[in-house]
Symmetry: C2
Subunit: 419 residues, 2 copies
């Protein structure tokens, strides 16, 4: 019996998949373990930056008024302040302190002159002094306490992934530990009697399971944890038990295969037996129109297609934003922008197409070339794609040099602002 | 004594840093451990793809000639071939086999008709049959063995990082293990008596060490391993011993700080005592002009500035391509492209500037806005930058809307093709 499924629009499908999905909550990790995690707290300055008035150069701290006269000022060098040190003496009239970059301005001084701008010498009695030819004003060459950052202000907002630059801010402001979003655990099943494992020889009728490995990587890329449960043979009771047990251990479940329009659509049946709410079971898109998403006890269940391109696209469109939202990411979607279409795309289709593509810059403008167009079952184009071209359904194809929307793959959402 | 250093051009500095740097060699890892590693072997198809003639749809396999007559063809359904199965019977005249997506075409059949295109029924004797209204030609709806991929051909080239899509190809072609580049070990030191650890309270004259944490993340981002040795106080013998010992354990050494033009430039002295070859000790760039790179017993040593922006930029320009080359990456540099400058940049400088910036797409075109321009010591702009604007040195500034070169940060070199 072939069930009639009613396709819904992609945007509506995304909306339903994301319904009631919330950040999982936070946990503390050591700063050194925070790479790639998503901040679950705003990062605030625990001190002014700079934390004290300091010298931006190697030079001499002095009183500006001493340089106001005609001719070079002759100043006695009364001490030397290394980085990490503090001056022990007050700078008086006609005095200066040798000061290193980053060292605090000593009491009494109100300007710094760069080392290259003075002449250093020693008096007859061995006392060091400097000749300062130019005139300075109070405040010259002093980095003022708090001029960059005021204590207590937010430096990086929650929802931001920890990049090297974010880590710099965390370290600067004393975050030896940082609150990051807990990582959801994603259970993965491949289904289908036709599947061989990667170390098995190809035999007639069988193909190797590649989708599960790809899904594990896609899950890792979002920052979530993947738990791969292996290949399920086409046996309803076996599948049901395996899925039911896995649901005790995971926050999200993703299956690939077993969701054809033919006789063997176990997954939807399993979801029904679980009494899950089916959000949708068909989407007006190619590839991946036969995709089922369901909710069960607050968990989101994805039955993705067994077709490699469809499985990949289904994950990126539906699963990724759910995981990213659970991870507290401010921007859960793939980065979307416009690009110049690199070749004709003659095939019309009533459904919206998501075409694997390679994008690149040409003079700062994004160009997108579809790859593997006539090979929807082939996996190799997935290795070379760094974007999906979005071609809305209609009765006509698209011409080369048209402006199209593209979704950038491989984690660009952590690196670009969403407009 | 202030040493006079001769600045060299950035491109020349990169060339010298990369001199004699070669891929480290390969190791085998399990497919499941290969995320983000760089392929050290070409990935070849171990079988044709598809591996056998198969059905792209759920439908019926039949002999095209049987559909040639006038009126619907009536064909007896003699068996059912599930995915993963092979047909056991030969399709004879007026016969068909029910066939699932991906199943092999049975002997005798030369076309497939989609399930939706036929009428299924049962004869009086209970035998299933189908009515096929349309006419088919031999080859219709058959995915031919090898039509996507011929056995033995290269699918993904060495030097490519393992993305989810690359993993799909590895799994498909039986790579239970894969040869990837060995990961260089990068030793990291922070130097400076002024440095506090992240868990220490700020006191006068001191600042927290942030560069070491940032460097560890930057190293991780390249795919190399980081080993952080802690903070070195400004004591020559102590520093020398620590560096000398670390060099026994690492492939590359990176230090930050201790390389000022002032009195306390230990790093270059240490490199000299090691009898290392100094490649350069000053680069015509801002920030980070005081950067030293040296070679010692086949290892590359980087003495980066203690200024956070300078340390960050020095790593991205010099250390990254060295590590990426050791990792066998085909594209070791940051992705470079053009962008529209988002604001005036009035300051002229004889040296080339690398300005922290935020880039974003506007209608498919890249726009770059400098951030933290007047805060070269501040770390917070690093958290918000996703690119460096390259402004060649000269006597004039740059105007808003000029076209400038940008280097994209955060690993985009693994995701975009270099022109």
């Amino acid at each position: 019996m072939v069930e009639i499924r009613k396709p819904i629009a992609v945007s509506e499908a995304v909306r339903r998949a994301l319904a009631d999905v919330e950040p999982l909550g936070a946990e503390k990790v050591a700063l050194s373990e925070s790479d790639g995690r998503v901040l679950a707290e705003d990062v605030r300055a625990d001190h002014d930056e700079p934390p004290f008035d300091r010298s931006p150069y190697d030079g001499f701290a002095l009183r500006a008024e001493d340089t106001a006269g005609s001719g070079p000022a002759e100043l006695k060098v009364i001490e030397e302040i290394a980085a990490g040190d503090v001056g022990r003496k007050r700078i008086g009239a006609a005095e200066a302190a040798r000061i290193m970059t980053g060292a605090p301005i000593p009491e009494g001084a109100d300007a710094v002159v760069m080392m290259e701008q003075v002449e250093e010498a020693k008096r007859g009695d061995g006392e060091p002094y400097i000749l300062v030819p130019d005139t300075y004003r109070a405040g010259d060459n002093i980095s003022r306490q708090g001029e960059d950052t005021a204590k207590g202000t937010v430096q990086v907002e929650r929802g931001t992934p920890v990049t090297p630059g974010v880590k710099a801010v965390l370290a600067t402001f004393g975050y030896a530990e940082v609150e990051v979003a807990r990582r959801p655990v994603v259970g993965i099943f491949a289904t289908g009697t036709e599947l061989l494992d990667v170390d098995e020889e190809i035999v007639a009728g069988k193909i190797r399971n590649s989708n599960a490995y790809t899904l594990v990587s896609q899950v890792h890329q979002t920052g979530a944890k993947a738990r791969y449960y292996g290949i399920l043979k086409d046996d309803f009771d076996l599948c049901y038990e395996a899925v039911r047990n896995a649901l005790e251990e995971v926050d999200v479940l993703v299956t690939t295969g077993g969701a054809s329009v033919g006789d063997y659509d176990y997954l939807q049946e399993i979801f029904r037996k679980l009494d899950a709410d089916i959000c949708f079971n068909k989407v007006a898109m190619r590839p991946g129109s036969v995709t089922t998403v369901a909710k069960w006890q607050g968990k989101t269940l994805f039955a993705l297609s067994g077709n490699p391109a469809a499985c990949f696209v289904g994950f990126e469109l539906f699963t990724r934003p759910v995981l990213k939202t659970m991870l507290g990411a401010a921007r859960p979607y793939l980065k979307k922008t416009e690009a110049v279409l690199g070749r004709d795309f003659p095939k019309a289709n009533p459904f919206t197409r998501f075409t694997r593509a390679k994008v690149d810059f040409q003079a700062g403008k994004l160009h997108a070339k579809p790859i593997g167009l006539d090979k929807s079952n082939a996996v190799t184009p997935l290795a070379h794609a760094n974007a999906l071209i979005v071609l809305p359904g209609g009765t006509e194809g698209y011409e080369r040099d048209s402006i199209v929307n593209v979704l950038l793959l491989n984690g660009e959402d952590t690196q670009w602002t969403v407009n």
